[in-house]
Amino acid sequence: MISKILRTLPREKAFYFFTSIGNYTGESAASLKEFMEKINEVNVKSLEFHLYRGDFEKWIAETLEDRELAEEIKRLQKVSLTGDVLRNQLRVTVLRHYKQLTSPFSLS
């Protein structure tokens, strides 16, 4: 199960970062690891745009098939964070989850 979550997806199933409807930043993530890295790099407007549309939780739940992380992301929406505070919170959430998944003690 864990290896499935950590797999690299084909290009057409990657997450594509937009700043608004139709405005693609050129950044994409094809795995959870890459998604974590892109959180640090993309325009914060893109994070705000996708978080409050529910795009992150949808992609994580339906494409990466990681329901647990999807729920954690969903909870972030309710806090109504913006800007770098949102970026940090998102980074911490995804990093903590990623570490749990990649820990030698995790159940695979």
């Binding site: 409807i21 139709g22 405005n23 693609y24 050129g26 994409s28």
Partner: protein, 211 residues
């Protein structure tokens, strides 16, 4: 078939060429359609026929002939030739999508691409039914400009996220949703001031010869 036009007779001849003959002097000269560097050169009458067709493509050859003072058979011959040469590409109805009940949104996408992949990106875009028009643009960065139609903003976003962004070579996309239409027309032959000048110039020349 010949027809008096001002002080000349117009002779349709072979190989897409027409000749005119002076009514007064009997002198002949080629004035009209010919191929120059594989480009069809049109004369005043051709432009005027095109103008008439762009105004109303359903009007008869006779009506156009009356309007321009030439025989309907001349109109027929010239239209047929311009169809064969691909100058007249097709006859189509201009539909007001809103009045026809289509509730859709239209947007213009600027797609920045890797120059090595831009042709392929443009070709793939052409295959998508949501895309109405595709152009490449000259600017500092290689861009593709595409007109896209979608049911709503959400379906527009899905299309760009799922179809356009994943295309290899797409670097980023900027999209503008079109809100209010002020004008929509096809290229009109008389809209080109350069061509208009040419038409007037040619007409004046004929007039001058009469003196």
């Amino acid at each position: 078939m010949t027809r008096k036009q001002r002080n000349f007779y117009i002779f349709p001849t072979k190989n897409n060429k027409f000749k005119h003959k002076s009514f007064d002097t009997g002198r002949e000269a080629e004035i009209t359609v010919k191929l120059k560097n594989n480009t069809v050169v049109l004369d005043v009458t051709d432009y005027k026929i095109l103008e008439a067709l762009q105004e109303d493509a359903k009007q008869t050859y006779t009506a156009i002939g009356k309007l321009l003072g030439i025989a309907h058979s001349t109109v027929y011959d010239r239209i047929r030739r311009m169809e064969q040469n691909g100058i007249i590409k097709k006859y189509a109805a201009l539909i007001d999508a809103e009045k026809a009940g289509a509730k859709k949104i239209t947007a213009m996408m600027t797609i920045y691409t890797d120059p090595k992949e831009s042709e392929k990106v443009a070709e793939k875009l052409c295959k998508a039914p949501e895309i109405l028009e595709v152009y490449t643009s000259l600017s500092e960065e290689l861009q593709i400009i595409a007109k896209v139609i979608a049911e709503n903003q959400e379906s527009l976003h899905s299309f760009i996220a799922n179809v356009v962004a994943p295309l290899p070579g797409v670097l980023r996309v900027r999209t503008s949703i079109l809100t209010k239409k002020f004008k929509e027309t096809q290229f009109l032959i008389t809209n080109n001031p350069k061509e208009l000048k040419f038409i007037r110039g040619a007409y004046n020349k004929i007039g001058e010869n009469k003196k």
